[in-house]
């Protein structure tokens, strides 16, 4: 039985007790698999699973509070679910988790850069390569060149929290140490302060304040009442100045400190390619360093900024 068949079977059984199951369906081309709601058994025929299932479905859970929901998760998505459980946004009893071991998802932007395609009619995966048919032309590229960055360094390919685990767990692609090595972070770390300031100024200048980053984030569950467009409290004006745009990313990053599971949805969602995940990755490293904590692992843990120790081992008071 294929993994997808097994998944469908598991959902088929669970569906009668659920309002809906969050999954992915075929999109306008073979490289896209938008999230959708499985309500009826017949909806299952559209269900797909594969490297094109990039969206983190946990972002949807906030909208669905009060409903009994099933959700299909990849390893990284499961960490977001764990975080939502921690923060009581999701009630474990009204959630059924179908865990799919994951070998990585595609980065469509990378594919566009690597292959000159207009319409991916068909996509096939053969050991390590992806073959895309666009028009009457078929081209292929190595999968590792078009996987999302996060997947290249994934060490949580299997969900830790689930009700149904479909298929066999997969081996992490890299070790935890290798996972920590991140060329983008290293590049930023290699800059001096002036360069970094200029780096952000240039990037933020491009920001549209469309909030795709915020709304795609599974943990920005206060998106409808976000400080960025609130008048009471009035943190931000609606001006499209670098100051306001950057300030918003600072708010975003600080609010995620110790909570972000690095699913990368914010950066993926950005239409103008602003590397906003960098700030969160950095803060995650800080949190790991200070509090030896990683978000989205233990549903009963308290994120480090919502607790304290009387003696902090890793915070040294600095005298001026």
């Amino acid at each position: 039985m294929s993994q997808l068949t097994e998944l469908k079977e598991a959902i088929r059984k669970a569906l009668p007790d659920l309002d809906l199951v969050l999954g992915w369906r075929e999109g306008y081309d073979a490289l896209h698999a938008p999230p959708y709601h499985i309500r009826r058994q017949e909806d299952l025929e559209h269900l797909v699973f594969g490297p094109m299932c990039v969206n983190n479905l946990a972002s949807q859970l906030m909208h669905l509070r009060g409903k009994k929901v099933g959700i299909i998760v990849k390893g990284c998505d499961a960490r977001s679910v764990v975080e939502l459980l921690q923060e009581k946004i999701v009630n474990r009893e009204s959630l059924v988790i179908f865990a799919m071991p994951c070998k990585g998802v595609l980065d469509v932007k990378k594919i566009r850069r690597a292959l000159d395609i207009d319409h991916a009619r068909e996509v096939h995966f053969h050991n390590g390569t992806i073959e895309i048919t666009s028009g009457d032309k078929t081209s292929s590229v190595e999968l590792k060149d078009v996987l999302a960055d996060k997947c290249l360094r994934c060490h949580y390919p299997n969900a830790t929290e689930y009700d149904h685990f479909i298929g066999e767990p997969v081996e992490p692609r890299v070790s935890a140490e290798e996972a920590a090595a991140d060329p983008a972070m290293e590049e930023l770390a290699g800059m001096d302060l002036t360069e970094r300031f200029a780096f952000w100024k240039t990037h933020m200048n491009r920001c549209l304040r469309c909030y795709a980053c915020r709304n795609s984030c599974p943990l920005c569950f206060c998106r409808d009442v976000c400080l960025a467009d609130s008048r009471d409290p009035h943190w931000q004006s609606q001006e499209t100045s670098v100051r306001e745009k950057w300030m918003f990313q600072m708010i975003h990053a600080m609010h995620l400190a110790g909570r972000c599971t690095q699913c990368g949805e914010c950066e993926r969602a950005c239409p103008v390619g602003i590397p906003i995940l960098l700030l969160k990755k950095h803060l995650n490293a800080v949190v790991k360093d200070l509090f030896n904590y990683e978000a989205g692992i233990d549903p009963t843990a308290t994120p480090p900024l919502f607790t304290f120790k009387v003696e902090e081992e890793n915070i040294k008071e600095i005298e001026l």
């Binding site: 081309d29 938008p34 319409h119 795709a212 709304n215 409808d224 609606q238 239409p271 103008v272 590397p275």
Partner: protein, 357 residues
């Protein structure tokens, strides 16, 4: 229309530079992998190969516009309010501007703005002052992509409507056709860069255009889309399913060349302030949220319904059947959830005879 001219690719920067002498020139440039409109900078490459991520709304409808500034004047002796000085930003004339490298779909999008902001009922001085001074040099589309559907909504890859000049990519350069006097002027200012296009080039240009048209997928008949959407109005299940992938962000509307909704907010320190007009998005929860807490469009399903209905039902109803979508596909291509407005339309059409409930 002026006779076809030809410019070699490498001369484009010179043309831009010539125009930039007296005008603000927006051109498509690549930044961090995204093609966006930015003020022309001779040091940066102008790229044409793909449609830009952003539309060039900014040129005529800036994301932030200071409508006016105000200052509460005090009597210096008593501290009491003596008056309020209001200074309208219109007093400073906007510079002439050229938008270079929009696609026909995007350029045509501004016709929607024209219908709304410059009509019998109202003439928005902020919009018109910029619009009058802005010229569009459009690049005909030689290869529509997976998300393109300009032909569904009355456009075409070489549609010159709204453009001042139209370029067609051919071997080694571009065919150039001025569409309006303004366009002609822009060409004439750097006339030495252009050569008359010979027959062969013109034929090549026509072939490029025909090929692009040939690449378009079959289009549905949208004549009945209004009634079809009306049928689905009460069908919230339909809208919920259609928005299952939507995260309710503002991206689709901010990238859209025809979306014109805006917000008005004041920023002030209590004495001096500005009134800002900034882009707003109907997909935002706060867009229609009332002070009482009541929201007539509380969920993304309600909001998507309004967005789609507005483009394909309300706007046509108000403006003689013209759909206010230009079919550029940005909202599909860049949507983080890959929400496909075409699927919504097709599904509504499919079910146009089916009553809700």
């Amino acid at each position: 229309m002026m006779a076809s001219l030809f410019i070699v690719s490498k001369d484009i920067p010179q043309w831009l530079a010539a125009m930039a002498k007296t005008r603000k020139v927006f051109a498509t440039q690549r930044e961090s992998g995204a093609i966006i409109f930015k003020p022309y900078d001779p040091g940066r490459e102008v790229v044409f190969e793909r449609e830009s991520v952003t539309s060039c709304k900014e040129a005529v409808f800036p994301q932030t516009k200071v409508l006016f500034s105000y200052f509460v004047k005090k009597n210096p002796e008593t501290g009491e309010t003596a008056g309020v000085a209001i200074e309208e930003s219109l007093n400073k004339p906007a510079p002439q501007a050229v938008v270079f490298g929009t696609r026909p779909c995007g350029t045509k999008g501004f016709l929607t703005f024209d219908r709304v902001f410059d009509c019998d009922r109202i003439r928005d001085p902020y919009y018109t002052s910029l619009r009058e001074r802005t010229a569009f040099i459009t690049l005909a589309c030689d290869r529509p992509g997976a998300t393109c559907f300009c032909h569904w909504v009355g456009g075409a890859p070489d549609d010159p409507k709204g453009s001042d000049a139209l370029l067609t990519p051919v071997e080694g350069g571009f065919l150039v056709e001025a569409v309006t006097e303004k366009g002609e002027e822009l060409v004439n200012e750097a006339r030495s860069l252009f050569a008359e296009a010979d027959e062969k080039r013109r034929e090549e240009g026509a072939a490029v255009r025909d090929k692009a048209k040939g690449m378009l997928t079959p289009k549905p008949d949208l004549t009945d889309i209004g009634p079809a959407l009306e049928k689905r109005f009460r069908d919230l299940d339909f809208w919920e399913d259609m928005t299952a992938a939507c995260v309710s962000c503002n991206m689709c509307t901010y990238l859209c060349p025809t979306c014109y909704c805006f917000n008005i907010t004041d920023e002030s320190d209590g004495q001096a302030g500005v009134r800002l007009r900034t882009w707003d998005a109907c997909m935002s929860q706060q867009y229609s949220l009332e002070a009482s807490g009541h929201n007539p469009r509380p969920t993304r399903a309600h909001r998507m319904r309004n967005r789609v209905n507005h483009k394909f039902w309300y706007h046509p109803k108000e403006y003689g059947g013209v759909i206010s979508c230009c079919g550029c596909g940005r909202c599909v291509k860049h949507c983080p959830g890959s929400v496909d407005i075409r699927r919504i339309l097709l599904t509504a059409l499919e079910r146009k005879d089916e009553d809700a409930e």
